[in-house]
């Protein structure tokens, strides 16, 4: 008899990462807790909080999701995807910016929305949902500026130096955008139960999370065409995260949050990405067996 917690711990160790996981059956509340209350750096997972805050403000009539915003090429937040990687002027709706932020983790789109919602707006939204340990203290621009500053003149290359990594403020939950695995599954469960937004806006949030393109993390653990995976990843040097909801055709739905730190500072570590799916699957299998 292999206890799921032992298997999760072993899978993290085998992949060379330290991992924290919380998984909950959205309807019964049964849970798997492998470090669920450990403070973690969210990185781009915080875009989920921003997405929910945006839709709450839309529901409250504070903004119109179809409103057009300008995104001039100068002064865009840097990033490898979406608007952040584009060269020419762009004009699009708030909700399409939210799509890019969610589907490809577009940093420029996220800061465009943050300029509208504000860090306070994001923190008010998470506080209203009772996420007491979740807090945004940086825009994505300021988060990366901090990394650049801490990395020093050698830039990205220095991010494989353990001594540099140890001093990156972005990797310290006390000084970076932060949460816990339990807070994130609570947020996802609220979105899926239509407690975070109106049903109409909740559906919009769920649609966007289902359009995320990355196949290498949580989705990799569920190689089933009839299982729906929706989620949001987050990454920084040595940090690989994803939070999401797994829906089975029998109606079972599970919110899972996995946050990892890799020992190896390499940027490309397929095993460290895949273990997010491996452990999410072990947890979901255990929740389904407990039914």
């Amino acid at each position: 008899m292999n206890h799921p917690l032992r298997r999760i711990t072993a899978a993290f160790a085998e992949a060379g990462v330290s991992g924290r996981l919380h998984a909950v059956d959205i309807d019964s509340g049964t849970e798997v807790d492998a470090g669920a209350d450990h403070p973690v750096v969210t990185a781009s997972v915080h875009k989920l909080c921003l997405l929910v805050a945006l839709h709450q403000q839309a529901a409250a009539g504070l903004l119109d999701l179809t409103e057009q915003v300008e995104c001039p090429p100068a002064d865009r937040t840097a990033g490898p995807t979406g608007l952040a990687a584009m060269l020419d002027p762009v004009r699009m709706s708030l909700r399409d910016a939210a799509y890019l932020m969610t589907a490809v983790s577009d940093n420029a789109a996220a800061d465009l929305l943050l300029a509208r919602i504000g860090l306070d707006g994001v923190n008010e939204a998470t506080a209203r949902l009772g996420l007491t340990r979740t807090r945004a203290v940086h825009t994505f621009r300021s988060l990366f500026a901090g990394v650049r500053e801490d990395a020093g003149p050698a830039g990205a290359r220095a991010l494989t130096d353990p001594q540099v990594l140890a001093r990156l403020r972005a990797l310290d939950p006390a000084r970076s955008n932060r949460s816990t695995p339990r807070d994130m599954t609570r947020l996802l469960a609220a979105v899926w139960r239509d407690e975070a937004c109106t049903p109409e806006h909740g559906a919009a949030v769920r649609r966007l999370l289902g359009l995320q393109v990355w196949p290498h993390r949580m989705a990799a653990g569920f190689p089933f065409d009839d299982v729906h995976v929706a989620g949001k990843t987050g990454s920084l040097p040595t940090v690989r995260n994803e939070v999401g909801v797994i829906e089975y055709p029998d109606g079972g739905r599970y919110a899972v949050a996995v946050f990892t730190r890799a020992a190896n500072p390499a940027a490309t570590l397929p095993a460290a990405d895949a273990v997010i799916g491996t452990t999410a699957r072990i947890a979901v299998d255990a929740l389904r067996a407990a039914k």
Binding site: A13, E14, A15, G16, V17, S18, A43, S44, A78, G79, P80, T81, A84, A85, V104, S105, N107, F144, V147, R148, A151, A154, G155, A156, R157, A158, L159, T160, D161, P162, Q163, L165, A166, R167, L171, D172, W214, H216, T233, G234, S235, L236, P237, T238, R261, A262, A263, N264, P265, A267, T268, A271, D273
Partner: protein, 322 residues
């Protein structure tokens, strides 16, 4: 009420028998001194001084309390001094760890350098693997250690990274043993004796990836870390092993031994170490151990500064950008 501070006022007034002189001695004004004495009298429920317009005299009750007050102040001073010594690294206990594969001479040199500068600190030295050190840092059972990278450094502060380049141990009769420097590809056909993957999965994978990229895919990977066991497999099992030049006599056989050590061409493999301690807990003794260890390893010929990192091509899934 800050009892120690108030007792200092009591003793000063008792000794000077004058509020003005006592205040001057304490570096404060007279009115707050009078207020403190009054507050202390209220707190203790005892009248300590008789005050007339011209003079101050200690009461019988005050005299009875004076000796206890002096004793308490002396203990408070001792406590502060001990704390200062511990903070400044002159005294106390330091729980430190070094990895098992360090040469005996290096360990002796580290201990000697530390004791020379901090003779008052009791050093409790443990032989611990990196994984064991990280566990003890988390449970607050270890103050400082020498860890091998890569490892999970969350919550740690680190000293500079030191690189111990690895060479290869191979049977004397192996063709590659005749080379001055051995390219990884020349090891083709041999098995590899490597530490168990569970000890450090990230490093284990890194070594095998580097070997494969360098043209050497071991015929078999055998688990082993003890020097005797490694030598046995190299001698009898058509295998090679990687070891730093300075990893102790067991790994550095003499000129007529059956096993020879050769540098690897291009120095593709290395053990990388740094001193580590829990973030925010680096006191003077920790600093001294870090300094002694780093300096001693620096002075060991086989240690170099970490090489500049290779180019880093971030892929879009990395999500961050500098």
């Amino acid at each position: 009420m800050d009892l120690i501070r108030h007792l200092q006022c009591f003793v000063a007034v008792a000794e000077e028998r004058h509020f003005g002189r006592a205040a001057e001695l304490l570096g404060m004004a007279q009115p707050p001194l009078s207020q403190r004495i009054q507050r202390l009298e209220r707190e203790l429920g005892v009248r300590l001084f008789e005050r007339t317009s011209r003079q101050v005299t200690i009461t019988a009750a005050g005299t009875m309390l004076l000796e206890d007050a002096r004793l308490l102040l002396a203990r408070a001073d001792a406590l502060a001094a001990t704390a200062r010594r511990i903070r400044d690294g002159e005294s106390g206990l330091l729980r430190a760890a070094l990895p098992p594969d360090l040469a005996g001479e290096a360990i002796a040199a580290i201990l000697a350098a530390f004791r020379q500068h901090h003779p008052g600190v009791e050093l409790e030295l443990h032989e611990l693997s990196t994984a064991e050190q990280l566990t003890r840092f988390t449970s607050r059972e270890l103050d400082v250690g020498l860890v091998r990278h890569p490892c999970d450094i969350a919550g740690l502060e680190l000293g500079p990274v030191l690189r111990r380049e690895l060479g290869v141990l191979l049977p004397r009769e192996a063709p590659a043993a005749s080379l001055e420097e051995v390219p990884l590809a020349a090891l083709t056909g041999y098995g590899l004796v490597l530490f168990p993957r569970a000890e450090a999965p990230a490093l284990h994978d890194d070594v095998l990836n580097t070997c494969a990229r360098g043209g050497y895919t071991p015929a078999a990977v055998r688990q082993g870390s003890g020097p005797g066991f490694v030598r046995g497999l190299v001698l009898s099992a058509n295998a090679v092993a990687f070891a730093p030049r300075d990893s102790g006599s067991a790994h550095s056989p003499g000129p007529h031994a059956d096993i020879v050590w050769r540098p690897l061409a291009g120095a593709p493999l290395a053990w990388r170490h740094s001193v580590a301690w829990p973030r925010g807990r680096g006191d003077a003794a920790v600093g001294a151990f870090a300094e002694a260890t780093t300096r001693t390893l620096w002075n060991t010929a086989a240690v170099t500064a970490d090489v500049p990192a290779r180019p880093l091509h971030l892929r879009p899934a990395a999500e961050y950008w500098l």
